[in-house]
């Protein structure tokens, strides 16, 4: 359920790194907690993002939640398909519904994130 090659935040985002690029999404646990997701607000390409700061919002029927960036850097791509199909965040949060790609300025920040095993014990998920 929670891929081993991802890193995770306490705020329920995931990060997948390839070279100096990090792909960010929300976890399956997050989408379950949020329920039916109806809007996603993402930053613009080129935006400078700081680790731990809001990079956008996800909105479900019930509530609005900030998305916190796992790492610092510059946004190089956003997942534009989510504007018309935010429900993908419920159906495929670890895959098709990634949110943004960031060119990381401080890759050492990855050390602050949780492994899959740590994240699962953090949320009390059953393996």
């Amino acid at each position: 359920m929670y891929p081993d090659n991802f890193r995770y935040t306490k705020e329920h985002e995931w990060l997948l790194t390839e070279g100096d690029t990090g792909t960010v999404g929300i976890t399956d646990h997050a989408q379950q907690e949020l329920g039916d997701i109806v809007y996603v607000d993402l930053p613009k390409v080129g935006a400078k993002i700081e680790a731990g700061k809001s990079l956008g919002t996800v909105e479900s029927v019930k509530a609005v939640s900030d998305i916190y960036s796992p790492v610092s850097g510059e946004v190089t791509r956003i997942n534009e398909s989510l504007a018309d199909a935010p429900e993908k965040l419920n159906s495929d949060p670890h895959g098709e519904a990634w949110l943004v790609k960031i060119r990381m300025s401080a890759p050492e920040e990855i050390q602050n994130l949780m492994s899959s095993a740590d994240y699962q014990s953090y949320i009390g998920a059953e393996k």
Partner: protein
């Protein structure tokens, strides 16, 4: 689970939209045992009930219920409630969980009649069975002829072999029943209702769906559309205020408000721009702050983003373009007629 007035309650089971649609198209069951109950008894029970509420208690027949307001002298809401006339000397009030103790104290403080007031919440669990298939579901579990209970009437009878109060009421804008049962039997009756409704696709529904359903039907939620600072005339609830029925707590203020006109009034809106106007968001008219959103949500039935807001009374009519401030950005919306959803009879 969330804390709701001290009760652990599920926001959702299978998902708000799924649960919402089950109630609109089939049947859903809500555990609303958190709701409070207050019983007023004695020869002057009717006089006390009438004196502390806005609607005309004298007009209620035995077995009939109505929606009403419990007001402060200054015209603001202590609570919004359902009043059931069980007998000439016995009234049964269903009140909001978080207001129960405050309501009880308020009623007692105004009890200058020969009436007994009991805070009876602990004696009742409540299940709401709601949706076009609610009657067919519940009928399997009771000898009472449900079709004979008119809307906003109730009867006492057995459900699953247990004495219950069966009310043809609800908070969803859909047909349905609210049953008051002994707490010790609540889990068993819940399970039996789930079995009885299985063929109709019954779903358990949580606070999330309860909110979207009541909002589409424009039913007020205490703490949102109404509170201690809002009068029923402002909340578009003039229909539960019977100024000609005789004296009641808050009447003097409402008479003055009616003569002078209220300053602000509740109105529905639909978002035009991208976004959801949620409760507490500011509303702008012609570039200036003019009011606030009381409730806002996607409407699963209408597939629009809807809400309710307060605007200056003279501006509070359908067809006005407004802006809702969503995370510091003004987003267009337009005021509309309510309710947003009305079931076909």
């Amino acid at each position: 689970m969330v804390d709701f007035g001290g009760w652990d309650m599920p926001v959702q089971y299978s998902g708000i939209i799924d649960e919402h649609n089950a109630v609109r198209n089939g049947v859903g069951i809500f555990d609303v045992s958190h709701m409070g109950e207050i019983e007023i008894r004695g020869p002057e029970a009717g006089r006390l009930t009438d004196f502390v509420t806005t609607n005309a208690v004298q007009k209620l027949k035995v077995g009939q219920a109505h929606y009403s307001g419990l007001l402060y002298e200054h015209g603001g809401f202590v609570d919004d409630i359902l009043v059931h006339k069980v007998a000439g000397d016995h009234y049964f009030l269903c009140v909001n969980a978080s207001n129960q103790d405050k309501d009880f104290e308020h009623i007692r403080a105004h009890n200058r009649f020969d009436a007994q007031v009991e805070n009876a919440g602990a004696r009742y669990a409540q299940l709401a069975v709601q949706g076009p298939k609610a009657r067919a579901t519940l009928q399997k579990l009771t000898p009472v002829d449900l079709a004979a209970i008119k809307y906003y009437w109730f009867t006492d009878g057995d459900v699953c072999g247990v004495p219950a109060r069966i009310a043809h009421t609800g908070y969803t804008g859909e047909d349905g029943y609210e049953i008051y049962i002994p707490p010790t039997e609540a889990v068993r009756i819940w399970n039996e209702v789930m079995n009885a409704g299985a063929g109709f696709g019954i779903k358990p529904a949580g606070l999330g769906a309860r909110n979207t359903l009541r909002l589409e039907a424009k039913m007020a939620l205490y703490g949102h559309e109404i509170d201690a600072g809002i009068s029923p005339l402002e909340a578009d609830l003039g229909w539960i205020v019977k100024l000609d029925k005789g004296d009641f707590v808050g009447r003097d203020t409402l008479v003055k408000q009616k003569e002078a006109g209220v300053r602000r009034k509740l109105i529905g809106f639909e978002m035009r721009g991208r976004g959801i106007g949620r409760d507490g968001y500011e509303v702008f008219l012609d570039g200036a702050a003019a009011g606030w959103v009381t409730s806002g949500s996607p409407s699963p039935t209408l597939n629009k983003n809807i809400g309710l807001c307060y605007l200056p009374a003279e501006q509070s009519h359908p067809g006005k373009t407004i802006q809702v401030m969503i995370r510091s950005q003004p987003v267009d919306a337009v005021t509309v007629e309510t309710p947003f959803y009305k079931r076909a009879k």
